[in-house]
Assembly symmetry: C2
Homo-oligomer: 200 residues x 2
Amino acid sequence: MDVLVNRPKTQRGEETLMKICVAAEQVFFEKGYYGASIHDITRLASVASGTFYIYFDGKYNLYKFLLLQYSHEIRKHISKSIRGCKNRREAERMGLKSWLEYIREHKHMYNIIWESLYIDKQLFVDYYANFSKYYVEQLDAAKAKGELIDVDSEVLSYVLMGVSNFIGLNWVLFKDADNFDYVVDEVMKVFDRNIFAPET
Amino acid sequence: MDVLVNRPKTQRGEETLMKICVAAEQVFFEKGYYGASIHDITRLASVASGTFYIYFDGKYNLYKFLLLQYSHEIRKHISKSIRGCKNRREAERMGLKSWLEYIREHKHMYNIIWESLYIDKQLFVDYYANFSKYYVEQLDAAKAKGELIDVDSEVLSYVLMGVSNFIGLNWVLFKDADNFDYVVDEVMKVFDRNIFAPET
């Protein structure tokens, strides 16, 4: 992998890097990737323009770094929230709920993640392909433990990502809901039952 | 609803409007909404610049018109393909397959539809909210006929849209597959069974 960021060696440097990332998030969200300038970002972060280049080669690497951070943070958040779950079903229910709670606090993520499709399609592909790969490992492990039926893990990973993303769109981005129990329970019905009546 | 397009009264006018729309699709896909100029569109369509304004007030209305057209065309295509289906399960299977086939022929649709999030969030919200509304009607009708279990129709509509969209991302946009039977059958397992082992 290319080096996206020149990692700071001091605590102070880490704080400056963090300030740049937080500002970049805000600027990318408000102005979009193409409308955002490094000057906008350093100004909002209250750091000197030259400081930016201590860490990043340019805007593209910063964006790519943010995207990678999101992917890590989302996985870390979900994986922490499902730690005590006793099986895959419980992990899926809890994972969906904690995803919805997470994006409620980070609503601009949809905009920033999906904008990758317009910046460099490969970034967008990699984002979901990596997520799927990670998901497939979890699903395969669940199958090995007999917690999941025999269904193609890659297909199931995209089914589950599609469900989380679109449920998130409507209940977080569109409706700004603050309690997700009802919607999560309704989603689980789809995984728990034959949703269609048997063919006659 | 606002008048988006000044509808032509002649066959020749309809053809010109169509040429403008086809060119706009291409230009929006290649340059993005913000990068596309009316001049790019009229040049590609081989029509005089002034001709554009016979039909549209500006770029925004043309984009909004295209989005509405997509929504109609997708629904028309799917609804045609499921016409002979004997129940909702068969309609969902066939609908998913025909959606995948449709976007294989119209790959730029993802880009153009999702860009609405960056042009005017309300366009994006309306696009999916309208699709959901239409879906809910179908699902309620299926419930009334006893072809579907009792699950919240709005939740299920977003589940199904999420599944179609993300399966489409991976198998059409990323992998460029040309046979969808396998993936569609695997998806149907999720709807046909309790995918998780019963809790012990």
